[in-house]
C-alpha cells in the first residue's frame, strides 16, 4: 500500500505550547520502516506531547508531518489510526472482561450483513480465526483467543495490547513504557515482540525510562530535553552514559552534523 523507500514518518519543526509553557520547540523526528526508534528524555521533556501530536490527540501550533512522504494532518486519534499509526498505552488499555479476540477487534469488529444489509451482525467465528492468525504471526503464544484478558498475566496482556495495535495494517506502532509494569522475566518477551514487529516491516517508536530496554532493541536513539531534540544517534555509536548525560543536560547535544544548532 505504500512505496518501500524513504522514511515512513517524518515530523518537521513541531511546536506545541500550552498557555505559557512551550512543550515542544521545533522538534524533528524521522522513522524508517522496520526501524526501532528509542525516544528518551526526562519527565516533561516532551516525549508524550510529541507522540500525542503524531497520533492526532493534539494539533501542533506549527510544523509538518509526513507519512510515506506525503503531508498529513490528524484531527483525532481516529485519523492517525486510519492512516496506520497505532499507540500502545502505558496503562494496558484492554478490557479485562472481554476475551483476547474481542479486545483485538474492539472498535473495529468484523460484521456480516444479513437480509440484504438490513442487519449487520458480529462475525464471531471470523474474528476468532483472524485473531488467532495474528497472534501466531507475531509469535504471541496464548492458548486460546477466547480466554478473558483479565485472567492473563501482565506480560501476556501487554503482548495482546501490542498485537492489537500492530494488528492489521499498522505501519507504525508507538509504545509508551510498555515494560514499566512488568515482571523482569516478562520484559524480555515484550522486547522479543518488538523484534518480531520489526521483521514485519513495522516502524516502532519506543518510549522508555529503562536504558537496558532501549539499548537492547533500538536501532537509533532520540533524546528530548525541555521540548528540544538534543540527541539523535545510532545505538551503535553511543553509550548509556552518553544518553544519560544528554537527558540530564550534562552533555549539550549530539546530533547528526546537518542538524546541529549553534
Amino acid at each position: 500500500m505504500s512505496e518501500a523507500t524513504g522514511p515512513v514518518i517524518e515530523m518537521q519543526g513541531i511546536v506545541k505550547t500550552f498557555g505559557p509553557i512551550q512543550a515542544l520547540r521545533g522538534v524533528d523526528l524521522q522513522l524508517d520502516r522496520n526501524e526501532v526508534l528509542g525516544l528518551v528524555g526526562d519527565n516533561g521533556a516532551g516525549k508524550s506531547t510529541l507522540m500525542k501530536v503524531l497520533t492526532g490527540v493534539y494539533q501542533p501550533d506549527s510544523g509538518k508531518i509526513f507519512l510515506n512522504g506525503s503531508p498529513v494532518r490528524f484531527e483525532s486519534p481516529h485519523d492517525s489510526r486510519q492512516a496506520g499509526i497505532e499507540m500502545v498505552y502505558q496503562d494496558l488499555a484492554l478490557a479485562g472482561n472481554l476475551n483476547v479476540a474481542e479486545n483485538i477487534f474492539l472498535g473495529r469488529e468484523r460484521t456480516r450483513s444479513y437480509l440484504v444489509g438490513l442487519f449487520r451482525l458480529l462475525d464471531h467465528k471470523g474474528m476468532v480465526r483472524e485473531a488467532s492468525a495474528l497472534l501466531e504471526r507475531l509469535r504471541i503464544e496464548i492458548e486460546s483467543v477466547k480466554f478473558l484478558v483479565g485472567t492473563l498475566s501482565g506480560g501476556q496482556r501487554q503482548a495482546v495490547a501490542i498485537g492489537r495495535s500492530a494488528g492489521f495494517e499498522a505501519q507504525v506502532v508507538i509504545m509508551d513504557e510498555p515494560t514499566a509494569a512488568l515482571a523482569v522475566r516478562e520484559v524480555g518477551k515484550v522486547l522479543d515482540l518488538i523484534e518480531v514487529l520489526k521483521e514485519h516491516k513495522v516502524g516502532v517508536i519506543l518510549i522508555s525510562h529503562r536504558m537496558q530496554d532501549i539499548f537492547t532493541v533500538c536501532d537509533r536513539i532520540m533524546v528530548l530535553r525541555q521540548g528540544t531534540k538534543v540527541g539523535d544517534v545510532p545505538r551503535a555509536d553511543t553509550s548509556m552514559d552518553e544518553i544519560v548525560a544528554l537527558i540530564t543536560g550534562a552533555q549539550e547535544q549530539l546530533l547528526p552534523r546537518e542538524q546541529e544548532v549553534a
Binding site: 484492554l94 472498535g107 451482525l121 498475566s153
Partner: protein, 367 residues
C-alpha cells in the same frame, strides 16, 4: 542484531476447575431450581398450579422490564434510580393523553353536523387514540432516558447516581403536577390488551380455552431482542467493553458517549413498556405507581449475577434474578410468611449475590 530464533513467549494459563465453571455459569439457574423445588415441596397443591404460575408471571412482568433496562445500565457500571418515576410519568401521560384526545374528539363530534364522522366509541377512533397515546408513552420513556444519559455524557456529572436521583424527583414531581396527584382511570381495550389481555392458544377438553397472559409474552420477546442485540451487534459488544474499561474503549475508538446515551435511553424505553403493561393491568394511570421499584430492579440485576463494577452479566441471568425475586415473594406469601420477613430474605439474598461476585472477581484475579 538479527535473532532468527526468537524464543517463543511461553504462557501459563490458570484453568478453572470444571466445578467452578459450572457454578459460575449456571449457579444462578441452580439457585432458582432449588428455590422452586423447595416451594413445590412446601406448598404442593398451590405453588405449581397454573393459576399461581400465571399470577407470578403477570406480577413479575413490570419488574422484569425495569430490571432489563437497569441491567444494561449496570453493565456500563452505571445506575438508574429514575426507572420507577419514569414509568409513572410515562403511564400518566399515556392515560391523560387518551382521555384528552377522547374528550376533544367527542366534543368535536357532538358539535359537528357531518354524519360521516366515526363515532367516538368506534374501533377506528379508539385504536387511533391508543396508538398515539402509546407512542407518547414510549417517547416519554426514551426521551427522559436520553436526558439521563446526557447527565453523564454532556453535563459530566460525577456519577449517574446523581443525575438519575435528580430525575427520579423531577419525573415523580411532574407526574403529580400533571395528574393533580389523582389516578386517571378507564382506558380503551386497545391500550389494556398488552397488560391485561390473554393469548388463547387452544381449546382444552373441557371446552375452556388454554390461554397465556399477554404481558409475559411481551416480556420474553423484549428479553430476546435485548439478548440478540447485546451478543450479536457491535453496539452490544461495545456496551460490555465500556463496562469493562471505558478508557480502553475510548482508545479503541468506541464512541463511549453514544454507548452511554443509548443505554440510558433503552432503560427509559423499557420503563415505558413497563408503564404500558401496568396501565393495562390496572386500567389506569396512577401517580404513585412504582414508588421504590427501582431498588427491586437493581436487586434483581445483582441477584442475576451482573457485576456492579460493570462489564459482567447476562440477559438470562437478569431474567432469572427477576424470577427468584418473584417466586420468593410468591412462595413466602403462600407459606404465610410475613411481608416483613420477605424483605429481610430478599435483602440477605442481594448481599449474598454481591458477595458471590466479589469471590468471582477474586478468583479471576481481576481486582
Amino acid at each position: 542484531m538479527t535473532t532468527p530464533d526468537i524464543p517463543v513467549p511461553s504462557v501459563r494459563i490458570r484453568r478453572m476447575p470444571w466445578l467452578r465453571v459450572l457454578l459460575d455459569r449456571f449457579g444462578i439457574a441452580l439457585a432458582l431450581i432449588v428455590l422452586m423445588t423447595i416451594l413445590a415441596i412446601l406448598s404442593p397443591e398451590f405453588f405449581l398450579s397454573r393459576a399461581n404460575l400465571t399470577n407470578v408471571a403477570r406480577q413479575s412482568a413490570v419488574l422484569a422490564l425495569l430490571a432489563l433496562g437497569q441491567f444494561l445500565v449496570i453493565l456500563t457500571a452505571g445506575i438508574d434510580l429514575s426507572v420507577g418515576a419514569v414509568m409513572a410519568l410515562s403511564m400518566i401521560l399515556m392515560a391523560l393523553s387518551t382521555h384528552s384526545m377522547y374528550d376533544w374528539y367527542a366534543g368535536y363530534y357532538a358539535q359537528s353536523a357531518s354524519a360521516s364522522l366515526p363515532e367516538p366509541q368506534s374501533a377506528l377512533i379508539l385504536t387511533t387514540i391508543s396508538v398515539i397515546a402509546i407512542a407518547i408513552g414510549m417517547v416519554t420513556g426514551l426521551g427522559v432516558g436520553l436526558i439521563n444519559g446526557w447527565g453523564t455524557t454532556k453535563l459530566r456529572l460525577p456519577h449517574p447516581f446523581i443525575m438519575t436521583l435528580g430525575m427520579l424527583n423531577i419525573a415523580r414531581g411532574a407526574t403529580d403536577l400533571i395528574s393533580g396527584g389523582a389516578p386517571i382511570t378507564g382506558l380503551p381495550k386497545q391500550v389494556r390488551v398488552f397488560g391485561a389481555g390473554n393469548i388463547e392458544l387452544f381449546q382444552m377438553a373441557d371446552g375452556e380455552w388454554f390461554s397465556i397472559p399477554m404481558a409475559p409474552v411481551i416480556v420474553i420477546a423484549t428479553y430476546l431482542i435485548f439478548w440478540f442485540f447485546l451478543t450479536q451487534s457491535r453496539l452490544g459488544k461495545h456496551i460490555y467493553a465500556v463496562g469493562g474499561s471505558p478508557q480502553a474503549s475510548l482508545y479503541a475508538g468506541v464512541n463511549v458517549n453514544k454507548v452511554l446515551n443509548t443505554v440510558y435511553m433503552l432503560c427509559g424505553g423499557t420503563a415505558a413498556i413497563a408503564a404500558l403493561l401496568l396501565a393495562g393491568r390496572t386500567n389506569s394511570g396512577y401517580p404513585k405507581a412504582g414508588v421504590g421499584i427501582e431498588l427491586d430492579a437493581i436487586a434483581a440485576v445483582i441477584i442475576g449475577g451482573a457485576s456492579f463494577f460493570g462489564g459482567r452479566g447476562t440477559v438470562i441471568g437478569t431474567f432469572i434474578g427477576v424470577l427468584i425475586m418473584g417466586f420468593l415473594r410468591n412462595g413466602l406469601n403462600l407459606l404465610n410468611v410475613s411481608v416483613f420477613w420477605q424483605e429481610v430474605a430478599i435483602g440477605a439474598i442481594i448481599i449474598a449475590a454481591a458477595y458471590v461476585d466479589v469471590l468471582r472477581r477474586r478468583a479471576a484475579n481481576m481486582e
